[in-house]
């Protein structure tokens, strides 16, 4: 009996050694497996692990808004609309709310666009409040937990703070009614008012077909060292600089504008996607908000993202080990960016490229239509599934009220 046990242990050790050897030999392979702090969860299948109930809201909360402005389907906040469509036809959806683990409210708060296409967040708090009033009066599930088993998609600049200016967003804070719900948002910054514990950060929406139409063959050699296209100074709103991007983008320009290794400019070339595929590093500095679709583009095109945003929380941070994949540079270290990037050992760079080449990594950043396995929709569901089972404390006792329905700015209380 004892011998068998030793043999089993020996076999396990042997298998482990083999696995380590496989990782070592994997150096010659083009990709490498990705496993984050939550484990190797990128390829988990959420079907069967959770059930989501989708509230039937009147179309003035979703369809009518979309009809008024179909641009909402292509801008970078389109995730809320596509998530709704995905959930309607997904196998995790259940029509029986008694067996649901999570409840989803389809309200398109980021679809009130200016003529230029930028969303105005001024009506969003009232819209959200009105929707919550509706679901709390028509279904008992909100009052049961005061929203602790509900999730909302708030892809706007500062999430559920519902403002595009950071100071104003901080002043408003997260909408009081959403204090207990799980928020699925693109904004992520540590120790920030607008990111609450337990939120799920998602990538901004980037159109998958458009990016896939610009793919070039992988054998074309990467000859650009650092690549960036975008604003350095926001002349319209902050001409002197120092306010936009906390001065980081301006610092990049001033320090590296004549460095031949840095291909940076404000032009909009038609070959933007192709150029990213010919670059080794792509800068992803913060703008008015720390997140941007550049991260998604860099991952899709295999260009190592150089993230210049202090304390940022990147999408699916527990499933994707961003420290291994991207390069993080503090904003105060921007003048030394060339030293930092050239002192990275080549093996580390090759490993990052191998991780980026992993198709499940690229798939996790996209919102394809129709949904495919491993894409961002599934990662959101995986994230929700990892939060299950709900702690018993979320269920409130009868008559207990935690949220203050009258808190917040006076303007929020007006009906929508």
């Amino acid at each position: 009996m004892k011998d068998w046990r030793w043999a089993l242990v020996g076999l396990v050790c042997f298998a482990l050694v083999l696995k380590i050897g496989a990782v070592e030999r994997g150096r010659g392979q083009p990709t490498e497996r990705i496993s984050g702090s939550a484990g190797d969860v990128l390829e988990d299948d959420p079907v069967g692990r959770l059930k989501v109930f989708v509230y039937e809201l009147p179309s003035k909360y979703n369809k009518k808004i979309l009809q008024k402005d179909p641009r909402c389907l292509t801008h970078m906040f389109a995730a809320e609309i596509f998530m709704h469509r995905f959930l309607l036809s997904s196998p995790v959806r259940t029509l029986n709310p008694e067996e649901a683990d999570w409840f989803y409210t389809p309200v398109y708060t980021t679809c009130d666009l200016t003529p230029n296409g930028l969303p105005l967040p001024f009506k969003s708090p009232r819209m959200m409040r009105s929707a919550i009033q509706l679901i709390s009066s028509n279904w008992p599930y909100w009052n049961r937990t005061e929203g602790a088993d509900h999730f909302f998609i708030v892809p706007h600049d500062f999430g559920a703070c519902f403002h595009y200016l950071e100071e104003k967003a901080i002043e408003r804070g997260i909408l009081t009614l959403l204090q207990r719900a799980t928020l699925v948002q693109t904004f992520g910054q540590r120790n920030h008012v607008c990111l609450k514990d337990g939120s799920i950060t998602i990538p901004p929406y980037a159109p998958p077909q458009k990016m896939e139409a610009h793919l070039i063959p992988p054998h074309i050699p990467r000859s650009i060292f650092v690549y960036f296209r975008g604003l350095f100074y926001d002349v319209g709103n902050d001409p002197e600089g120092g306010y936009y991007a906390r001065g980081a983008r301006a610092a990049v320009w001033e320090n590296f504008k004549d460095n031949p290794l840095f291909d940076i400019s404000t032009e909009h070339p038609t070959t933007y996607y192709e150029d990213m595929q010919r670059a080794i590093f792509c800068l992803c500095p913060l703008g008015w908000a720390p997140w941007s679709p550049r991260l998604v583009e860099a991952v899709i095109f295999g260009c190592i993202p150089v993230i210049i945003a202090d304390d940022i929380v990147l999408p699916f941070a527990d499933a994707i080990p961003w420290e291994d994949i991207g390069v993080f540079v503090d904003e105060k270290d921007v003048p030394n960016l060339d030293t930092i990037l050239t002192s990275i050992p080549p093996e580390v760079i090759l490993r990052k490229q191998r991780l980026l080449a992993n198709p499940s990594m690229k798939q996790a950043m996209l919102f394809p239509q129709p949904a495919q396995s491993g894409d961002a929709f599934h990662q959101i569901l995986n994230g929700l599934a990892r939060k299950l089972p709900h702690d018993q404390s979320v269920y409130l006792k009868a008559g207990e009220k935690v949220l203050n329905w009258t808190a917040g700015p006076v303007g929020d209380l007006k009906p929508w």
Partner: protein, 506 residues
Amino acid sequence: MKLSALHQSYLNRRLNSFRGSSPLDSSIDGGGLKSPASIFWLLIHGLCCLISLLLGFRFSHIIFFLLFSPSTTTITRTTKLYSPTPFLPIKVPDALPVQSPPNKTLVSSSRVVVGRHGILIRPWPHPDPVEVMKAHHIIDRVQREQRIQYGVKSPRTVIAVTPTYVRTFQTLHLTGVMHSLMNVPYDLVWIVVEAGGSTNETASLLASSGLRVVHVGFEEEMPVSWEDRHRLEARMRFRALRVVRQLKLDGIVMFADDSNMHSMELFDEIQRVKCVGAVSVGILAHSSNPDEEESSVAQKDDIENSPMPVQGPACNASDQLVGWHTFNSLPYEGKSAKYIGDMATVLPRKLEWAGFVLNSRLLWKENQDDKPEWVKDLDTVGGDREHIETPLSLLIDPSVVEPLGSCGRKILLWWLRVEARADSQFPARWIIDTPLEVSVPSKRTPWPDAPPELPSNETTITIEENREKQQVMKTRPRRSRRSRSKRKRETRVADTQVSDRNSGEK
């Protein structure tokens, strides 16, 4: 409701992100700025605008803030409310330096603060050469890895076969081929067959390449007429193939004639060959005589007669070999060059050797049963003086040739034959280290006739160098008035005489 000026400017920021936006008239959430402080600052703002109009430069209300700072600022405020002060103005006076220290509203526990930050610029914001070199090493390593992963999986050795001989244009041509071969990312063996025996001249040129070279001497002199020359070159190439067999070299044999120009994609493409492959060769049939070229080409305007300057495999729609594009020499009938250095068009063969690649295993002697039936043994072909036109004569069945370069649509190398006259002279190894012999004195020089023994070496070299250069391009040495500016016209006059003479001899 009344909007404060600051609030309106904040709104304008979002609305003015792109040019031509119009402010919305939808109801705006007023926020909490209806305090007396905001009215106060509105008045100050108006006052400053008036002052600016008077003075002619921008006068911002930040001055008042600086003057009255102790009473209104609260840097140490730690609540999460932002103070409604003009602390975060959109306009900033130019007086403040760019690298002003950050002084803002603090957000509680975050080390990232909102507000105006300095733009950090290092004292010498220019590239450091050491880092640039490191970056290039990184780029090189990344590209090498890309080639390993996405390029040819198991690259085979390239065996380049070059027939050459010592002549004026040899250095020019061989340097070109040498540099192309030095850039090939695969293992390379270069077999150079030299007519007239192997010489130090060629050997020194090849030694500077750093490649693995097999220098073979071929004991026959290169003839003057093009016909004989092509025959000899074919036999030299066969000699090289015998070397391949003798050394049991394993790889892909390609024929790199020294006057051709190869693209790097050619070497990537020939890695795909299994037994025998063919690529398209661009033919640049060139005449040194500009008059003749114009007349011959300009007359043939219709599409059918104008020769497509490509030789190579011809495929049908399903990418199978059905025939060959060969060089149409009809337009040049009777006007082609017969001798080296003729001022007429030098024509290629029907199918150049350079357009074919072979798997070297076909040439090996043993394993006769392994060899496919459609390949003849090397000994049976070319043993006698029979003229071998193309490598196709090695094959019993020419239809098994694989067309490369997307079925011959991509032209991967170019043929261009430029040579000097057979008796043209050039300094050995292109180094002039001893005074050269005066072979032909010129009659009328701009400077007085100097005897061969001159007081200083330098002047001798200069004068004789000039004479040397003139002799290289000449056709008939006995000509008067050999000044350089008139050289071109005279050579042309001489050329027509030569061609007349040649045609007279026929």
